[in-house]
């Protein structure tokens, strides 16, 4: 199958990655697998010894598992929305980022739901969710929505890969037979006829149109798990859009990190230019402003209302001896610093943005922790004469193991995907002259 000059060049760039596994990659994969192995040991302990090995108790019934779930699922929605808009509006400069955004979606939507399963105490009753669903429960909405989104994400990514699979199939890449056969099978006999091109373009656009509202809805449904509950810090009308904006915002942060890494790793400076980072920074700036506005509204209305229960939570969130420093970090590192670095041209450099994005992503994870845990530590009825660990949540090493296992799984999926496909869409790259223009 014919591809553009830049596509051929890109295939040559990625071919060593696909054909061979370097010593460094083997070590990297070993570290990831070992981390996952340790996480499985933690899972074994949790299954056979019960949830007592976690910090979750009667009051704080959700801990970092749900935080990880919210964070990763948020990333997946962000990836789908970003890729959807780039495809739908035919943004030429965004083409090298589409595959990365889609892979981010897929990796996070695979790993994210695992964390919600870790919250379930009775795995043997898991199927009851489908046998006896309560359609009026936000949890049921979320399960069905995430499954729908997972299927959609696979289809969306696959549609973008078919033409590439055909290129790999027809190339002289030196790969094992099974990999070549799998490419051929997945390419669906694509030869680039006009009808096939039309079908792929129509389907991709259709999936982009469907997945953007689906992502917004699914992010909103996740927020409603909290928003439909009559608890301070959760029962809020702005939680739907707040979660959507927060998800896109943290997704842009992760996309900046992944883009920076891919650019460095494969020397793609010709295709991923500082302009790409500028555009990502603009997106980050807009989202940071929106996210900061929602955060301020959330705290301000609760504080101003001074309802007793709300006031307890606000005091807890801002008290230095409780969650004050985490709140400070989540807002300064999560909003203020990214805004400064994205707004000031002199600071808006790829390396700076990568560091700021990494800190922002961490702050966004902390923010989700601050949404979940302090509220659960603020029960309506006073708790007296009870052991402190039943009121206050402390993350245990088992929970850390499983969290790191999840992070390792995310990177492993990304790494293994990079062994099978090019991390940039080679059959749909911008025209060569555009590349030159951006490079100038």
């Amino acid at each position: 199958m014919k591809i553009s000059t830049s596509g051929s060049e890109m295939l040559r760039t990625f071919s060593p990655q696909i054909e061979h596994t370097s010593k460094g990659e083997k070590m990297w994969i070993t570290v990831l697998v070992a981390t996952i192995g340790l996480a499985l040991y933690g899972l074994y302990l949790q299954i056979f010894k019960g949830h007592g090995v976690t910090g979750m108790r009667d009051n704080v019934i959700w801990g970092i598992y749900i935080v990880n779930f919210m964070f990763l699922i948020g990333l997946s929605y962000a990836g789908a929305i970003i890729a959807g808009f780039l495809i739908l509006f035919k943004v030429e400069w965004g083409k090298p980022l589409i595959r990365l955004a889609q892979l981010m979606t897929l990796a996070s939507v695979i790993v994210g739901p695992i964390f919600i399963l870790l919250c379930v105490g009775r795995f043997d009753r898991l199927h009851h969710l489908f046998i006896y669903p309560r359609l009026q429960s936000p949890l049921t909405w979320d399960v069905l929505a995430v499954i729908t989104f997972l299927v959609g994400s696979f289809l969306f990514l696959y549609l973008s890969l078919i033409q590439d699979f055909a290129v790999y199939r027809d190339s002289n890449l030196n790969v094992s037979k099974w990999k070549h056969n799998l490419w051929a099978w997945l390419a669906l006999r694509y030869t680039g006829t006009e009808n096939q091109k039309r079908l792929i373009n129509t389907s991709r656009n259709l999936m982009a149109i469907v997945l953007i509202p689906v992502s917004i809805m699914v992010a909103s449904i996740l927020s409603w798990i909290f928003g439909m509950t009559l608890r301070p810090g959760w029962h809020s009308t702005i939680f739907g859009p707040y979660f959507v904006v927060g998800a896109i915002y943290s997704g842009i942060g992760v996309l900046i990190i992944i883009t920076w890494y891919t650019r460095k790793m494969y020397h793609l400076e010709r295709y991923i230019t500082p302009k790409h980072f500028d555009y990502l920074a603009y997106m980050m700036l807009v989202m940071a402003a929106g996210y900061g506005y929602f955060t301020f509204s959330e705290y301000f209305t609760s504080w101003y209302g001074s309802e007793t229960w709300d006031a307890q939570l606000i005091d807890k969130l801002f008290a230095p001896d409780e969650y004050g420093w985490l709140t400070f970090f989540a807002n300064v590192a999560g909003v203020v610093i990214p805004v400064i670095f994205a707004a000031v041209p002199k600071l808006r450099k790829p390396d700076n943005l990568m560091v700021v994005a990494a800190i922002m992503v961490l702050a966004m994870w902390v923010k989700r922790y601050l949404i979940v845990v302090p509220t659960l530590e603020t029960p309506l009825l006073p708790i007296e004469d009870i052991r402190p660990e039943y009121v206050h949540y402390t993350i245990t090493w088992v929970e850390w193991l499983l969290t790191f296992g999840g992070v390792a799984s995310f990177f492993l999926i990304f790494t293994l995907a990079g062994k099978f496909v090019t991390l940039i869409d080679i059959s749909d790259l911008p025209k060569d002259e555009n590349v030159k223009t951006q490079n100038q």
Binding site: I36, F48, G152, S203, V210
Partner: protein, 327 residues
């Protein structure tokens, strides 16, 4: 296996270049992670330990847990005594209630012989209760009753017993209502051959029964005539007819045990136990129709689009097959 000859002519084996070796390596890592836990305490090991324990009779005796029985009595104005035997056992360093065990109750006659009253089974709270009428009981020489509660033990718990000596007494409660003020008149007396004697300076507590436990609403101390008047608070929630169950108690005295008087008065406001169905509630048994319709429209719209895309994928394949055929 891929075998490569290097410059020196030696043979090196690149195991990691085969996918099944990588898979094996990953499985090995996972097992390496799990093995220490399996080695520590596998179900099989536990079973063996249990088997060993049961095989050794000496160890079996050691595993019998010590029990403790506590006996208390509540005297009522109708001439009855409620005996309560609390059975507990020391498990993992603290006393825990033991349910489903038989506790036998006895009273001693003037000769000091045990006369069986009856036996009952302990409930979930570890308490076995039996109600006896004073007139049917044997008294000691000093006119008091001596009770024994005994748990004989079984293969898991050692036996234990507790005794209790009570002098006959009663607390009488009279409820009156005047000018929307509710008053409880309480009189505590001890029985004697010379007639009732007042129990002076005894602390009395008044409770009302709530959903989970009793709520103290008034307290006071009897005067030298053994009498006490307390005002009962208005505005409490009652049952659907406004009835409130009131209990007055002189608690845990050395001589009389608990002296208890109960009454049911229509002094509360009516609270219906009937569940009023809220049409908007998410916890109602069935989802509202609009929700079902909206849900299926939204999900259907998305999945229909997926189906359209899948059909397009099949068309792409079919088109490719036709193009190959023409070629």
């Amino acid at each position: 296996m891929i075998m490569k000859k290097d410059i020196a002519g030696t043979v090196s084996i690149n195991l990691m270049s085969r996918w099944w070796y990588r898979l094996g390596f990953m499985v090995g890592m996972i097992l390496a992670g799990i093995y220490p836990a399996l080695a520590q305490d596998t179900p099989a090991d536990t079973a063996v330990q249990q088997a060993d324990t049961t095989a050794a009779p000496v160890e079996e005796e050691e595993t019998t847990i010590k029990s403790k029985t506590s006996l208390s009595g509540d005297q009522y104005p109708d001439g009855t005594i409620m005996l309560s035997g609390l059975l507990r056992a020391k498990i993992e360093g603290s006393y825990q209630k033991v349910p489903d065990r038989k506790v036998a109750f006895f009273v001693l006659n003037p000769a000091g012989e045990e006369v069986a009253i009856g036996d009952t089974i302990t409930g979930a709270n570890g308490v076995a209760r039996i109600r006896v009428t004073k007139t049917t009981l044997a008294k000691g020489e000093d006119g008091s009753y001596s009770f024994i509660a005994r748990f004989d033990g079984d293969d898991k718990f050692e036996g234990s017993e507790s005794d209790l000596m009570l002098k006959s007494a009663s607390l009488v409660m009279v409820a009156t209502e005047a000018d929307s003020t509710y008053t409880l008149s309480l009189t505590a007396t001890a029985d004697s051959p010379d007639g009732p004697l007042p129990i002076a300076a005894a602390p009395v507590s008044v409770y009302v029964k709530r959903m989970f436990s009793s709520l103290k609403v008034a307290e006071g101390e009897t005067d030298e005539t053994g009498a006490l008047e307390v005002e009962f608070p208005a505005g409490l929630a009652g049952d659907e007819n406004g009835n409130i169950e009131i209990t007055a108690m002189i608690e845990e005295t050395d001589e009389y045990g608990n002296l208890t008087a109960t009454a049911t008065q229509k002094w509360g406001y009516s609270v219906s136990a009937a569940i009023v169905e809220s049409p908007r509630a998410l916890w109602s048994p069935h989802p509202p129709t609009w929700m079902v319709i909206t849900f299926f429209i939204l999900m259907g719209a998305v999945w229909i689009h997926y189906a359209i895309v899948i059909v397009s994928l099949l068309k792409i394949k079919s088109d490719g097959r036709q193009a190959a055929g023409k070629a």
